[in-house]
Amino acid sequence: MRSSSRNMLLIAPGLGWLALFMVIPCVLIFMLSFFERGMYGGVDYNFNLENFVRAMDPIYLGILLDSIYIAGTATIVAILLAYPAAYAISLSPRKKQTTYLFFIMLPFWSNYLIRTYAWIVLLNREGLINNGLESIGVISEPLNLLYNEFAVITGLVYNYLPFVVLAIYSSISKLNPEVREASEDLGAPAWKTFLRVTLPLTAPGVAAGAVFVFVLSIGNFITPDLLGGGRLQMVGNLIYDQFLSARDWPFGATLSFILIGIMMMLLFAQAVIVNRGQIEKHEAKEEDVSSMNFSRQSLNEKEKSYA
């Protein structure tokens, strides 16, 4: 009894914080989405579903699909870059690991906007990369590296890569080395060990990193605006414009609410994957004799469920 009331006391501040600054605003956004923009940009409180009908317009669906495509590409690129890095860091000596992680985090010491502007300096037609390539004679005409999808994806990957490295690193470094050794002892070549043991067991880290990049990318509006030159419209820009340019808060709220719904589903999917990984690890520890069998089995199951 005493310990449970102490637990409540410990949980209360965090829970209260979330309720106050996360749940209540979300509920309010939900409410707002049922009203209508006033004549002069305020809110007319007449309950209706018009905003949801408006949101079904193909133009918004198109923007959503574009955003999913851009955020999805950024996620895949980020994981392909982050996994080998995280793997290499986790295999290096302890002391060096701290140094490497420090360097991974270093970009966060400067402002997001400044880092994004730095990319403009690098990528524009008169920028460092184009000038450099021209001066060594690789190209004769500057390349269009900026104000397109390529630039937006580059910017998103660059900005969120550290999170993915950290998420994957933490899950690789928690992996019991004996599991890998067992696989090798049983005669599996290194690539097979990686594909069938390491990778599946670190899937929760990959999932966490992936959700992180995806969720942050799909809601991002600064990068498409600056590196995309406003020529790409993502959901984040759309919502931003409804609130700040059209002063149509109710419609902005509707779009936000739909986006929040999508994010929730993703987070839920990620939680399921993480949970599964933890159960596997837990059980693997308990039955260490049959651990290899078990992970093989669960691997097969997983392969089936992925297919």
């Binding site: 923009r37 305020g42 409180y45 309950f47 340019s245």
Partner: protein, 348 residues
Amino acid sequence: MKLLKSLGATALMLSASFSAQTTWADKLVISNWDGYMPADMVERFKKETGIDAEVALHATNEEIMGKVVASKGKGYDVLFVSSPFVEVLNKLDLIAKLDHKLIPNTKNLYSQANELNYDKGNKVSMPYAWGTTGLCYRADLMDEPTSWNDLLKPNDALKGKVTMLSTDRWLMAAGFLSLGYSVNSTNPSEIAEAKQVLKSAKKSILAYDDATFYAKLVSGEATMTHAWDGWCNYGTAENPNIKYVIPKEGTDMYVDSMVITKNSKMKKEAHAFINYVLSKEIGVWIVNNVMYKTPNEAAMSSIDPAMMKAYPNLAMSPDEILKQEQLRDLGKTQKAYTKAVTEILASN
């Protein structure tokens, strides 16, 4: 239903109270665009009048509108907004009637500045700066543009070398003007036509840029930009080959004005601030610092001729400016503009 309504209202109030500046009762709160007022203006004002003031910043008209509409103007005393928003704030009854006796410096204004159609007689607003939207270009890299179509249908040499404003009213204005329509058009077929023109124009532009276009001209990334005259001067300051022109079809004119919130508890001090801004010395100092034209005749006539020569658009006469159409609030049609702009920006 009632619960929903009050919850919705709470949402607005909450967001407003987070954004509004909580302030001491004896401090005047002024909201202006960043960099639109000399940095030490408030200090000078305090030195001269003894009135303490602080500056809150807003990035766009829409941002300050959102805050003020939600908080009913509480927490702010003086706002700097563009003319269509003066109209809206007035219709929403959020701004106060001005007491001209407390602003003797109105005598410094051009007579035309008293005839602005969104607020004839300056009953609720005082003009701070005015100007036009047009084309800002590199005179060393191209011939002088003459038409909006030079921007919307650029020749091959200019393809991928032009930028446009993406703020809905100005983006749409470029389309309307190229077709000979009003910048305040509410006709659905005209809106659709302008949208089509702007969609095809998108294929030849480098980027949409409302904030750094002059830097793109300086670096040579862009050769011509859709620009506000005052901002074009920032480019001219770095490269005298950067020039400004109003296309032959005409353009819109903007007036950025000062208003006092109805809920201000320091109306007398707020009037004193507006009066201070309208003095001749401060007017000169504003023009020299932010390089925008002011409707302050006393100030404009004392600007150094060398400055006018270096930045020719500063010399534009009030009649030339007022010849252009003024942007008006669109009311219900705003939704159609927003949708059109979304379609343009999302098109391939």
